[in-house]
Amino acid sequence: MTAAGDRLGPTLFERSHAGRGGGKVPHPPKDALARIPADQLRADGPHLPEVAEPELTRHYVNLSQLNYSIDTGFYPLGSCTMKWNPKVNEWAARLNGFASLHPFAPDELAQGTLQLLWELEQALAEIGGMRAVTLQPAAGAQGELTGILMVRAYHRSRGDMDRTEVLVPDSAHGTNPATASMAGFKTVSIPSAPDGGVDIAAFRATLGPHTAAVMITNPSTLGLFESRIGELLEAVHAVGALAYMDGANLNAIMGRFKPGEAGFDVMHINVHKTFSTPHGGGGPGAGPVGVGEKLLPFLPSPRVLREADGRFRLERPGERPDSIGRVRSFVGNSGVLVRAYAYIRAHGAAGLREVSDDAVLAANYLKSQLAGVLDVPFSRHCMHEFVASGASLKAETGIRTLDVAKRLIDLGYHPPTIYFPLTVEEALLIEPTETESLETLDGFVAAMRTIVEEAHSDPELLHSAPHSSPVRRLDETTAARQPNLRWKGMTGEQTPCPD
């Protein structure tokens, strides 16, 4: 089907045919539900697809081939750190001892995972220069919420009830302001200086007794290290506020900069960025949060503890009364954390530092090669990613960044992040990561050159790109105006199970 011919297929619902499938589990006795009151029972359905295993498999195998992925090509999606996802990690997370462990297993049955989680906490604390780490948050955004809720608890614990504002640079990721809102704060946006850093004067002017925290992404979403970070942190602490670091860009600075050492009070880490756990088409990840001394009492519960005798256990409910409580069920996305642990052990200190060095080297290399091709608004060395802009190209040819991105698809590349950060016109945020070869980077530059030439010579080709993908540009307006969000009704008739 896919090696040739049309590559799109019907939905699983359209493939359904009443009576197909089955054979997976034994049949229960007929009266299994007789003891349950009739009004509690389901009257009809559910009308789920009925397909046999061959058709099911083909459905998903063929669908998978419609995806672009790290496993098939270069995916320089800025801010997302689409690095290699090592195969041994997938193997590890599936080990029966890890995968079949119940989250309520008594501690004595869970020593392997508890040890792994504890060691991972130590390693992340060391990398971040933090006092302690919680692995509970399920993703970066939840890490942010956890961190900001701790900030809130900290101020309240000191009777400091008037801190209602969280300061966020205008280049920040959308989760930062959204988090501040969820934690009951007002977001105050702080502008960027022309060099891409925070505008210090504006920043100082905004800071005050109402400031609960500042959320800083460092390196920033422009891929720049905040060189005035010392000044910033001093000013924050001077007004009694706390400094939150969005560590989504940690991949640039391992072994080079430890946020906790530098003075950050709290940070989150995206293991699905820096520590190679797969993005899964949108998730799952995990968003561990590191804290300094001040926030230690407020960490969510339960923590993983090591006893004097070397055994590990989970905190019991209520054991640490100042905790902000739970942010989710159980201890965290353990299956994801196994992968992060494996990644850290595979690298060690020298390896992680090399990861960051190579990520930064690759980004600067790509930037240097693209400098003559597109606008590169910030000329100083970037960290693991950099912003390019199609502003001049648009002015000259009418070709927008969107068109460039779509044309890249035809040339075999996943486009970079586009139109983010919001502070740069026609932005492309490009993050090559450390796991892409020089040949791959050069191939990407050549493709960009080709596209810029095409923008002059054959703009229509770009307006209508992509041409070679399984589908072409989509009608997003209709999708939003008349949303069709689920299939209703099956194509076949429903009849009882055949086997």
Partner: protein, 468 residues
């Protein structure tokens, strides 16, 4: 480096092209005073060494006991096809489908996931996934506040304690109120949500209620009076949020059937491994009028410029990357791959298979009830249940601990998660699913009989009390 391609030559070539003599120069922006202290971590390991370390750690976990533990995370048989398809790199190494032209695989599978959960719950709109059942419940409760512009929800104590705690954390942050609906203390309805108390709580004109949250089956395994609770909520202008367990929905009335506005729950039972608590799958679904309140991604069907059917993320104006501080939630990364696992599981097992799974669990649980009662551990509540229930066991914690030594994981000691509820002081929450065998039930029951007997002979305090 373990996985990277760069050789010293490659690095030199890149430095040359950039025009720096050393990589250190690229980090010049880091103020000297702030450069990191030495990174102290264990040395790197080759894959062979790492694999053997990880195997040893995994082997330190004990997953070989006969287990009756559920309490929000359930053992089920997962057909082999599920994991083999999940291992396809095109799925698991892709990002959020921002470029729909080369993400139709992910997009169509999400649309199908939404459709399947739509069938199970009867809801019109299903988010592309949340972190887990607890956060999905919290987000569901927050939706009711946004939709009604009220600031208080009522949460049944029959909702999983982790969900209640998570909801409290989220509500505390948002300066909203979550009050607990008590459970009936005695009689045939004991252990289920107290409808009289609910009605009273809803009646307070000073503190209008945005939503009522009830779980079915409840944390204690009981089937709840969902229809009545929903009617009470609606009568007070509140929305009704059902916390559900998806496998049960193959046989138990759907949220739509009893009038829920929002359905949420933990999707782990749909083919996702236990993995010590995650990654799991937060199910969140709602009726059509609430579509603009639902947080998380939504995928819709549309066409491309050639008129071919295609799928795309839609109604994005609810999301943080578009709306920033005004977004419905800060959620960004979700649990998409777990949603894919659930879809493949449902596709593999089919509707009849899912009914078999649910009904077999019910049948095994009935056998377990009889066996445990005979062993001296009768049910704690009289009402109907599906496949999980609480039993009274004298000196439950000690008995449970001793059972481990006999190779039996005898469910959950309820006091460890509900330490403040005296009615649950000497109780175990036990569960059976389609993978529970009659032999295992026999092993459990006979070990339990021995241990209860032993405790009685020793005249342990718990036992003394129970025999009063």
């Amino acid at each position: 480096m373990a996985y990277g391609p760069h050789t010293p030559d490659d690095r030199a070539a890149m430095r040359k092209a950039i025009g720096v003599a050393s990589t250190d120069e690229l980090f010049a922006d880091i103020p000297a005073a702030m450069r990191a202290s030495e990174l102290r971590l264990p040395p790197p390991e080759s894959e062979a060494e790492l694999a053997s370390r990880l195997s040893r750690l995994a082997d330190r976990n004990r997953v070989d006991l006969v287990s009756f533990l559920g309490a929000g995370a359930y053992r089920h048989f997962v057909p082999a096809v599920v994991d083999q398809l999940l291992l396809r790199g095109e799925f698991y190494t892709a990002y959020t489908p921002y470029q729909p032209e080369i993400s139709q695989g992910t997009l169509q599978t999400i649309y199908e996931y939404q459709s399947m959960i739509g069938e199970l719950t009867g809801m019109d709109v299903v988010s592309a996934s949340h972190y887990d059942g607890a956060t999905a419940a919290a987000e569901g409760a927050l939706m009711t506040c946004r939709a009604t512009r009220r600031e208080r929800v009522l949460v049944s104590r029959g909702v999983h304690p982790h969900y209640r705690q998570t909801l409290c954390t989220y509500f505390g942050g948002a300066d909203l109120v979550a009050d607990e609906i008590p459970l009936v203390a005695e009689g045939p309805a004991s252990g289920t949500t107290d409808l009289v108390a609910l009605e009273r709580m809803l009646a307070d004109p000073e503190r209008p209620v945005a939503g009522v949250v009830v779980a079915n089956p409840s944390f204690l395994g009981l089937l709840e009076p969902m229809a009545q609770a929903g009617r009470l909520a609606h009568a007070a202008g509140a929305l009704f949020v059902a916390v559900v367990e998806p496998v049960s929905l193959a046989v138990i009335a759907s949220p739509a059937a009893y009038g829920a506005d929002i359905a949420c729950g933990e999707g782990q039972p749909l083919g996702i491994p236990l993995s010590y608590g995650g990654p799991y799958l937060g199910i969140l679904a709602c009726r059509e009028p609430l579509v603009r309140q639902i947080p998380g991604r939504l995928v819709g069907m549309t066409t491309d410029i050639d008129g071919r059917r295609a799928f795309v993320m839609t109604l994005r104006a609810r999301e943080q990357d578009i709306r920033r501080e005004k977004a419905a939630s800060n959620i960004c990364t979700n649990q998409a791959l777990c949603a894919l696992a659930a879809s493949i599981y449902l596709g593999a097992i089919g509707p009849h298979g899912l009914r078999d799974v649910a009904a077999m669990g019910a049948a095994r649980a009935a056998a377990l009830e009889v066996a445990l009662a005979e062993a001296g551990a009768p049910r704690l509540h009289p009402g109907p249940y599906l496949n999980e229930f609480a039993v009274r066991v004298p000196d439950a914690a000690e008995v449970h601990r001793r059972l481990l030594g006999r190779g039996v994981l005898g469910g959950l000691v309820l006091a460890t998660v509900e330490p403040d509820d005296p009615s649950l002081a000497d109780a175990l929450l036990v569960c059976a699913t389609e993978v529970t065998t009659l032999d295992e039930i026999e092993v459990f029951a006979s070990a339990l009989r021995d241990e209860i007997e032993r405790g009685r002979q020793l005249g342990l305090p718990g036992i003394a009390e129970a025999s009063r």
